[in-house]
């Protein structure tokens, strides 16, 4: 019998249909990947299976687990099923654990809720489960608190909570989206291993096609509450039927057309020389020496006019700190930063004249706007840098209109508020705000990371086009190597505060020299390679788990040495 079988599942709140006629099945030991952009209903499907849809929703159809309809179960019965027969892992490991309880207690709780065991036995199971997910003694005693763990380690704890009772079905909703690539690879390998060991079914929900392509047996693509296409992974991707899936596939490996003008002028737009940024740490004891954490350690780089430079590295490597130093948001302890040959002042911050050559676009387009200001006011904000020279009246409005038009919006949008726009449009507004004072350099700090793939492709196109036309330089900061590769001319790889490798983007991706660069590239999921490897090597290999396989077989998720 099919482990999980969803038939004609519908979900609506009031008149709004959230899910329509969902039909899905998962066998024991099978991995089903659900792909969709935001609003596609993929998370709602997961919550519906768990019986955890928010209040006010009503559902129809059937969700059969081993033949029993979960939608007909009472809340008390569902409490007995959740955590025992079905486990769930969520996206955000940083907040998914109770900060006031030890990890041991939180894993043991799963056992104690469902089994009449004593604390001692529950703790024993918790210990075994944490060992299974790779958090072994003595480094990870049961008494650790969540804040003492990294994001990847916390996600392992969340997984341990979900699998402590060896559920028959595990649902993982974007389990690796908030993690670094190398951590992502480890977590995916862990999930795959657990599926193989326990023979449980796994529903892996993600927006990232490359992530599921490597490990899912079957794929369902969702859009606006419906499944548009479903089938075995390789067959589905090789022969996409629905226009939406085809668009999604194209967008996820989208390469914006770039036609950079000849680099002119010998003075670089940005010259960073030996910059050091130290943070003071609390003293160990009352009279202990002051301690420092060196977040940026002697970094030098330069960006020519019209050049797009990528800065990649994992979280905590210092890339955002470097960006903040370049933006003069933070003082530097050593080294110098110059824009168009003019040095930025050190601790006192940069002058208005210097700042107006520099703009920034951040990751979260909504969080970086004041929601009570009109778009006109938001976009015109940087005008204060021009002082008395700021345009007034009709000229001001004309400049705003032009900036909005430039990023693909219309002048009428100036009178609206930010909440009236979608995520992609908000990021366009952020870019318009960055453009309005005609800077030489825009720092893009994870500027497309929060966007859906199709929107991301559009924004990347826009950025490429603006750079070409206006001779703009970008410092493109991202943890996503794939995106950096599509839009940058040169790339810098940062690790622990230092630039470990720098060079032409094409060269570095084709032939990485530093071990860290290789590691990053190897861990970055790559859709095309994943598919090719699965076609070639049957039965499908687990690219993460088995080190021997990693060495010898062409691994689906590796874009390692020798490929471009």
């Amino acid at each position: 019998m099919t482990l999980l079988s969803i038939r004609n599942l519908t979900l609506h709140i009031g008149d709004a249909n959230i899910l329509r006629d969902i039909d899905l099945g998962v066998e024991a030991g099978e991995i089903l990947g659900i792909i969709g952009e935001s609003g596609s209903g993929k998370s709602m499907t997961a919550l519906a299976i768990m019986g955890l849809v928010p209040e006010g929703f009503s559902s129809g159809g059937q969700i059969l687990l081993d033949g029993e309809d979960l939608l007909k179960k009472s809340e008390a019965e569902l409490c007995g099923i959740r955590g025992d027969a079905i486990g769930m892992v969520f996206q955000e490991p940083m907040t998914a654990l109770n900060p006031t309880k030890t990890i041991g207690d939180q894993v043991a709780e799963t056992v104690m809720v469902h089994r009449r065991t004593g604390r001692r036995a529950a703790n024993r199971i918790a210990r075994e489960t944490l060992d299974r997910v790779g958090l072994t003694e003595p480094q990870f005693p049961l008494g650790k608190f969540p804040h003492e763990l990294s994001g990847g380690q916390r996600q392992r704890v969340v997984i341990a909570m979900a699998i402590a009772l060896r559920p028959r079905l595990l649902i993982a909703d974007e389990p690796t989206t908030a993690l670094d690539v190398t951590t992502q690879a480890q977590i995916l390998a862990l999930l795959k291993r657990l599926v193989d060991e326990d023979g449980m079914g796994l529903i892996l929900i993600t927006h990232d096609l490359a992530v599921v392509a490597g490990i899912a047996d079957r794929i369902a693509i969702m859009r606006l509450g419906e499944i548009v296409e479903t089938g075995p992974t390789v067959g589905l991707f090789r022969n996409l039927q629905h226009p939406y899936s085809q668009m999604l596939f194209k967008a996820s490996s989208h390469q914006p057309a770039r036609n950079p003008p000849a680099v002119t002028g010998s003075v670089p737009v940005l010259a960073v020389d030996g910059v050091v940024r130290d943070y003071p740490l609390p003293r160990r004891s009352l009279f202990g020496a002051k301690r420092q954490f060196r977040a940026v350690d002697g970094v030098s780089l330069s960006i020519a006019r019209g050049e797009n430079v990528g800065l990649v590295g994992e979280s905590g490597c210092g890339k955002s700190t470097l960006a903040r130093a370049i933006l003069s948001l933070e003082p530097v302890q050593a080294g110098s930063i110059a824009l168009d040959g003019e040095p930025l002042q050190g601790s006192a911050g940069a002058s208005f004249a210097a700042r107006r050559k520099l703009s920034v676009v951040f990751q979260d387009p909504y969080g970086s706007f004041n929601p009570r200001h009109t778009v006109e006011r938001l976009v015109a904000e940087p005008f204060f840098l021009l002082g008395l020279g700021a345009p007034q009246g009709a000229e001001r409005r004309r400049r705003i209109d032009r900036a909005l038009t430039e990023v693909g919006l219309v002048p009428a949008d100036a009178d609206k508020y930010v909440h009236e726009f979608s995520g992609g449009q908000r990021q366009r507004i952020a870019i318009a705000r960055a453009l309005i004072i005609e800077p030489s350099l825009i720092v893009l700090d994870e500027a497309v990371s929060a966007l859906d793939v199709s929107i991301r492709a559009q924004i990347l196109d826009l950025l490429a086009e603006l750079s070409d036309r206006l001779q703009l330089s970008y410092l493109f900061i991202s943890h996503d190597l794939h995106v950096v590769r599509t839009i940058t001319d040169r790339v810098l790889v940062m690790q622990a505060g230092k630039i470990v490798e720098a060079g032409d983007t094409a060269t570095i991706f084709a032939n990485p020299q530093h071990p860290y660069t290789r590691q990053l590239l190897a861990a970055t999921p790559n859709l095309e390679m994943a598919l090719a490897a699965r076609e070639a090597a049957l039965p499908p290999v687990d690219p993460f788990l088995n080190p021997a396989a990693k060495q010898n077989l062409p691994s689906p998720l590796r874009g390692g040495p020798g490929r471009g």
Partner: protein
């Protein structure tokens, strides 16, 4: 007038005197006792694995003393700063205590001699140090108005005010916790709306009016309690507590209304957290998730309010003290201000400040017990 002084002195100041603490000094011991309790809390891991258990306890123990030490250092600094502020403020206040004590017909010579006797003539820093070290020895000087040692005046009142504050706070907490939890767990239900309406009323209505209603009902009509006065603790614990019951209720109701509202909103915030969803995914019922995961995390804002309320109850009980004819600290200080009995004001304010700072310290320690993240950082 009295209000101004309290409002001004309390938050801004922070005390310097470790002596009201002859008994308060035990205050420093208390947190450690509380700490030991922690070992028996249900959620601390029982040692199934010797190593795990040891490592975890080691971790908790090693960070906690450092945190307590850092809070204790800031407590001492606050006390010194507060004593300075109180001293300087009362130096500035016009009026010559000696002239006041001797009355209108006193000769300047007599006033001068009395000032000398009272130690009012020395240099400022000397008088400050005399005052501080005097308090440390338990010597608060002689009241200008009553001509008795100030320590005697305080000794009587403190044993009314502090038990009353603790009584009222206990009542307030006992009422607020269940009420707030019920309201939060039934958000937007009729119960919730009724509770919110009632607490709104409780916040709005002045506590002396409550007090008069209580007197009317329980003292005048039902004759269960006396309408006021305090017979003293030597009459027995029960008699003392009984006399304090109506005032404590009158004080507690508005405080409980505020606290219940804080409890509700803090709980609603934590119930929206991701880890509550995680707990539900583990199979916990809504109620279990609330009790086991949300409650402890919601305690931080609640503890903050409890700390503030204790301070308020200690000094701000003056109106209720008047309604019930209780010989409390607030009353004493108010009268001392009216009589320009500055030495009583100075030391009385200082005693209140010491109490408030000690409570703040205890709240800080409670924070760290609730939230392990605070134990590691010294801020």
């Amino acid at each position: 007038m009295h209000k101004n002084i309290f409002v001004h002195c309390f938050p801004a100041s922070t005390p310097a005197d470790r002596n009201a603490p002859t008994h308060q000094a035990h205050g420093t011991v208390e947190p450690i006792a509380t700490l030991e309790l922690r070992g028996s809390l249900p959620h601390t891991p029982v040692p199934p694995f010797p190593l795990a258990a040891r490592a975890s306890t080691l971790h908790n123990r090693s960070a906690m003393p450092a945190y307590i030490l850092s809070r204790a250092v800031s407590l001492c600094l606050s006390l010194v700063a507060a004593s300075l502020v109180v001293f300087v403020l009362l130096e500035i206040v016009p009026g010559d205590p000696a002239a006041l004590m001797l009355g209108l017909n006193a000769t300047p010579e007599a006033a001068g001699a009395l000032r000398e006797l009272l130690g009012l003539n020395g240099p400022v820093h000397e008088r400050y140090l005399n005052w501080v070290f005097g308090m440390l020895r338990g010597d608060f000087g002689i009241s200008y108005a009553y001509k008795v040692p100030v320590s005697e005046l305080f000794a009587d009142r403190i044993w009314v005010s502090i038990p009353l504050a603790i009584y009222a706070l206990t009542l307030s907490t006992l009422i607020a916790f269940p009420v707030g939890i019920i309201a939060a767990s039934r958000r937007n239900s009729a119960t919730d709306v009724a509770i919110m309406g009632t607490t709104q009323l409780g916040v709005a209505v002045p506590n002396f009016w409550f007090a008069m209603l209580l007197v009317l009902l329980f003292a005048v009509t039902l004759r269960w309690f006396s309408a006021g006065g305090f017979p003293g603790w030597d009459q027995g614990l029960f008699v003392g507590m009984k006399a304090l019951t109506l005032p404590a209720i009158a004080l507690a109701l508005p405080q409980a209304s505020i606290l219940a509202r804080v409890m509700r909103s803090a709980l609603l915030d934590t119930l929206d957290e991701d880890y509550i969803r995680s707990a539900r995914a583990k199979g916990l019922t809504r109620r279990q998730a609330l009790w086991r995961h949300a409650l402890r995390n919601a305690l931080i804002p609640v503890l903050t309010i409890i700390g503030l309320q204790f301070s308020f109850l200690l000094a701000g009980a003056i109106i209720i003290e008047n309604v019930f004819f209780l010989p409390g600290l607030g009353n004493l200080i108010f009268k001392a201000i009216a009589a320009r009995d500055l030495i009583v004001v100075k030391s009385g304010v200082m005693i209140l400040v010491v109490a408030v700072i000690l409570v703040t310290f205890l709240v800080d320690v409670a924070y760290a017990i609730v939230d392990p993240r605070l134990r590691t950082s010294t801020r």
